[in-house]
């Protein structure tokens, strides 16, 4: 059953191409078209993933021969209090990177829906700006904001709250939320833009009906806007949660994980283990755990927010 046997002449060839009809045998040739893409994906994504998993069972400095240690790297990662605490910090960052920006985005959209805002495009652009700035720029700017003699402390002193002034990024009590708020600032623009787009898809009749029924702003928000944005909220949460969990650049450029280990996160440990301290096996194990955590949380989110029909 080859194409040539059913050739009738001229255009008949096209409809006679094999591999389309249900029940027909699979044609391997078609998969050749996928091969280049798959090869690329395999070399740059699958192989590194599998290699990482493999390294995680070894004690390796990255150069000399590795020794098999079984699950020891995983046991160390789970039992070491510092490593464990980094995963705890990540969960706190989910609040600052995902929950808070989503809430702020929803609030802005809720207001925009009721109040006619002039220069909407301008505001939207300005509020979205943090998303497109390089994180190094963001980090440097916020380091200055948070510095001992920075603007935040200057304002506090001005209003007579000088005793609250401190190096926000250098204080055990404030460093973690201070870094977290930088994340909030960078992420809420993304949430807002997603939600504005989503709201425009909600049929205007629903709002009209609600208003005729006498619904107030709050009722309207919870009965129409929020359910209507389910899909967008899901996307926003997956993106921001992933960002929260693999947060590295902001930490690297602000606190280096300090003071002490109070802002240390898994990806920072992974980088340090892989490139600085040459504990490739331990770093690989932490990577696998982090990946599983991201899969777990984003998977749970998507299941929870799936549109039920």
């Amino acid at each position: 059953m080859t194409a040539s046997t059913v050739t009738v002449a001229g255009r008949g060839v096209r409809s006679a191409r094999p591999g389309r009809r249900p029940g027909q045998r699979l044609v391997w040739r078609n998969y050749l078209y996928l091969l280049p893409g798959f090869a690329f994906y395999a070399v740059f994504t699958l192989v590194p993933i599998v290699q990482t998993i493999r390294y995680s069972f070894y004690n390796w400095d990255g150069f000399t021969t590795a020794t098999w240690v079984g699950l020891q790297n995983y046991i160390d990662a789970i039992t070491d209090p510092v490593t464990r605490s980094t995963f705890g910090h990540s969960l706190i960052f989910i609040f600052f990177y995902a929950a808070l920006p989503t809430a702020i985005g929803l609030l802005i959209v809720g207001i925009m829906n009721r109040v006619r805002i002039r220069f909407l495009t301008l505001f939207r652009t300005v509020l979205f700006l943090p998303q497109i700035l390089a994180t190094v720029v963001i980090a440097v700017a916020w380091r200055w904001m948070y510095a001992q003699d920075g603007p935040i402390n200057a304002v506090l002193r001005l209003v007579g709250l000088g005793h609250f002034a401190r190096a926000w990024l250098g204080d055990f009590a404030t460093a973690l939320p201070a870094v977290g708020l930088i994340g909030t600032w960078t992420m809420y623009g993304l949430c807002m833009v997603l939600f504005i787009g989503g709201v425009q898809k909600i049929p205007i009749e629903l709002y009209e009906a609600a208003r005729i029924d006498g619904a107030g702003a709050l009722r309207e928000f919870f009965a129409i806007t929020l359910p209507g944005l389910r899909g967008e909220i899901s996307i926003a949460l997956v993106l921001t949660v992933t960002n929260a969990l693999r947060n590295f650049d902001i930490i690297w450029n602000t606190t280096s994980g300090g003071p002490g280990t109070s802002t240390l996160v898994p990806s920072y440990l992974i980088y340090r283990g892989a490139f600085v301290t040459r504990e490739v096996g331990a770093a690989a194990a932490a990577s696998v755990l982090l990946t599983l955590l991201i899969f777990g949380i984003t998977g749970a989110l998507q299941t929870a927010l799936r549109e039920r029909k």
Partner: protein, 457 residues
């Protein structure tokens, strides 16, 4: 149909997984390619004719960005003397260099010459992987062991296996010494009626006066978790413990422990300094660079650091500051330091004569003034160079006094690859009252034992 699709994808994935997992242990395929006998030893300096024999070649160098001013001048001289060699140099920031240089030296096409760093993480790995050429013959042939304290080479000496240092072959050499010491603001000392400290007791008395006088006694910026737990603590340990016992611990000596009386006293003293408010408010939120800049502009009476900080201070005000090393109880100068960031020659380099000639020129007395012009302290020709100002002059004098009667102690963070982080985070917690001196010492020692027992992957 759907099943079959899935089947194909699964089979493809399984194939990839299989291919990768079938390999033997990571690293075993890339067994050391450089052999011990890969190079010709030299007994006298490389001649221009030997370099000319190479034909037209390129000498690839990876260097710390801090070496740029010095290298730019040296490369000009070098290319004039050896016209068949073109120098191709890549400058990298310190952190960037540290995270890439070992990989580069392990590759099949490594730089011929590279900056590295002492300690197990960088130099140890390079020795273990036989990536670098031993330089004992080079040091002898060029007379680099003359007129400098022998202890300065200890941090460059490794056993063949790359598992311990302090004795063995010299595998790297630095060009400018970097003793940690005490910078002082002359105007502020005058105002407070103080003299430059000679001992730790002097310094502590001065700090008290400075604090009472409303000054910041010691300028500090520690947001990078550095230099409080490494340099400042190091300087204090140098004063309380003997160089031998500290060096033995850093080098991983059997039966040694960080929990020694000298270290206990030093850690306690550091904590007391923190409690006494000798450091500026919010120092954990200020970077070292910012703090050095602040100090150069007149904030703070003292600054504890190395000659690498001096360049910045001298650039701002070449005459307003002084520099001194501290003597321990037996009247000897003891401080953390080395002959500087090490230079290595790749064992795979095909232009070794050109590389040796380059390092020979870079480290010779003739190049001393090039270092001095950027307020650095050349190892060779220290006494003959012209200083950039009064502060540099004080640094040169201090280094000479040290070379005449001093002992180097290694940097504490060489002890294990993770030690920098352990000391840095631990010192922040110590001064914030989150841990005790005993807790700090135990944590450091645990890092050391974990590494020495090879239990960490």
């Amino acid at each position: 149909m759907k099943r079959t699709h899935r089947g194909i994808v699964a089979a493809a994935l399984a194939a990839v997984v299989g291919v990768v997992l079938a390999g033997c242990a990571p690293g075993s395929s890339s067994t050391p390619s450089g052999k011990d006998t890969d190079f010709t030893t030299i007994t006298k300096p490389v001649t221009a004719a030997q370099v000319a024999d190479l034909g037209d070649v390129t000498l690839k160098i990876w260097a710390d960005a801090g070496e740029k001013d010095t290298l730019d001048t040296i490369i000009g001289t070098y290319e004039k003397s050896y016209s068949n060699v073109k120098v191709d140099v890549t400058y990298k920031d310190w952190d960037d260099l540290m995270s890439t240089v070992v990989n580069a030296m392990a590759s099949d096409n490594p730089p011929d010459i590279a900056n590295g760093n002492q300690g197990f993480a960088t130099m140890g790995t390079m020795v273990k992987g036989k990536m670098i050429r031993p330089l004992d013959d080079f040091v002898k042939a060029y007379g680099l062991d003359q007129g400098v304290p022998a202890s300065g080479f200890d941090s460059y000496r490794w056993n063949d296996a790359g598992t311990s240092w302090g004795t063995g072959s010299i595998v790297g050499v630095g060009g400018a010494t970097q003793p940690l010491g005490v910078f002082y603001n002359k105007a502020k000392l005058d105002k407070l009626g103080l003299k430059p400290p000679q001992t730790l007791a002097d310094l502590e008395a001065d700090l008290k006066v400075a604090k009472a006088g409303g000054e910041i006694p010691i300028q500090l910026g520690n947001s990078d978790q550095y230099p409080l737990g490494s340099h400042l603590l190091g300087i204090l340990i140098d004063m309380f413990a003997t160089p031998d016992e500290v060096n033995a611990w850093i080098a991983g000596g059997k039966g040694t422990t960080f929990d020694m009386p000298g270290v206990q006293k030093a850690v306690k003293t550091l904590q007391e300094w923190g409690d006494a408010g000798y450091f500026p408010a919010g120092y954990d939120g200020t970077s070292l660079d910012e703090a050095v800049a602040d100090y150069a502009k007149g904030q703070g009476v003292f600054f504890l650091g190395g000659s690498f900080n001096g360049s910045t201070i001298a650039k701002t005000d070449p005459n307003g500051f002084g520099f001194t090393l501290l003597q321990n109880d037996s009247g000897k100068y003891v401080t953390t330091g080395t002959f500087g960031t090490p230079w290595h020659i790749s064992s795979k380099s095909k232009v070794q004569p050109a590389a040796l000639a380059f390092l020979g020129l870079l480290l010779s007395k003739d190049s001393a003034q090039v270092y001095a012009d950027t307020s650095r302290l050349p190892n060779y020709g220290l006494a003959d160079v012209k200083p950039t100002g009064a502060m540099h002059e004080a640094q040169l004098k201090a280094a000479q006094a040290f070379f005449a009667n001093g002992d180097f102690v290694g940097y504490l963070d060489w002890a294990t690859p993770t030690m920098q982080a352990t000391l840095g985070a631990g010192a922040q917690e110590l001064l914030a009252g989150k841990t005790t001196p005993e807790g700090f010492i135990q944590r450091v020692q645990k890092d050391w034992s974990d590494y020495q027992s090879g239990s960490k992957g």
